[in-house]
């Protein structure tokens, strides 16, 4: 069996704005399935990915009601990945940059997300096998 690794991802993009958020979560999903130890440093707009107050909506353009639309909520995806890693013997330490949370007012995050700082990102990177920064534009 391949050795379990520790990877750190720095994310910057908010949800619902571009494809980088989704691909970041896809990468984390792959690592979670492998049971890796995963650190996520959500910086800037990415702190909204785990915002617990996101709400789904219906889609009148497609004629879908709330249930049918089943609109993705990134906080659910984030939580699901935290759970997935745990199920596979790994973990996700999801750190929201605290100042970024404050200025965006997205204080309510799903369980498993904690407030942190750039020092946490640096420490996580130092303790990881590798780090990928996914920048915003």
């Amino acid at each position: 069996m391949a050795a379990k690794k520790t990877l750190t991802f720095a994310l910057m993009d908010p949800p619902y704005e571009n494809g980088r958020s989704t691909t970041a979560l896809r990468l984390i999903a792959i690592a979670a399935k492998r049971g890796y130890a995963i650190n996520v440093f959500a910086y800037e707009g990415a702190v909204a990915l785990a915002f617990a107050k996101q709400q789904p909506h219906a889609n009148a353009v497609h004629g879908r009601d709330l249930e049918q639309e089943n609109h993705p909520l990134t906080h659910k995806w984030a939580k699901a990945l935290i759970d997935e890693a745990h199920r596979n013997g790994g973990k996700v330490d999801w750190i929201n940059c605290g100042l970024c949370v404050d200025e965006r007012g997205v204080h309510e995050a799903v369980d498993g997300v904690r407030r942190g700082s750039p020092a946490d990102f640096w420490q996580a990177a130092e303790a990881s096998d590798n780090t990928l920064v996914i920048p915003t534009r």
Binding site: A2, K5, L7, G19, R20, T23, R26, L27, I30, A31, R34, Y36, D129, N130, L132, V133, I134, P135
Partner: protein, 108 residues
Amino acid sequence: MAKYLLIESRDPLESRDSGNWYDLARDLKAAGNEVTVFLVHNGVLAARKGARCADFARLLRSEVEVLADDFSLRERGIGGDRVVGGVEPAPLDVVVDRLAEGCRAMWH
């Protein structure tokens, strides 16, 4: 020498800097490193046969390995026979594999 994974998410016809990114890949390879360019999102638009991008064509003529996220290709309707020669469709797992191997990964 090192292993590099240069992830390209931008459409080179929209972002002039993609040409610089491909050139960086070629320069890193010429310096003796192992280099892979992994196309994702609109970066795969360069990989459709018939796409007109001289910078990308130059990359394909080099010895840099060029992979493309199979989901991003499918999402954009770029089926197997429409992927230009020299680009290999690959699952995103490859990125995690390379990270796990200690590749220096940079996202553009």
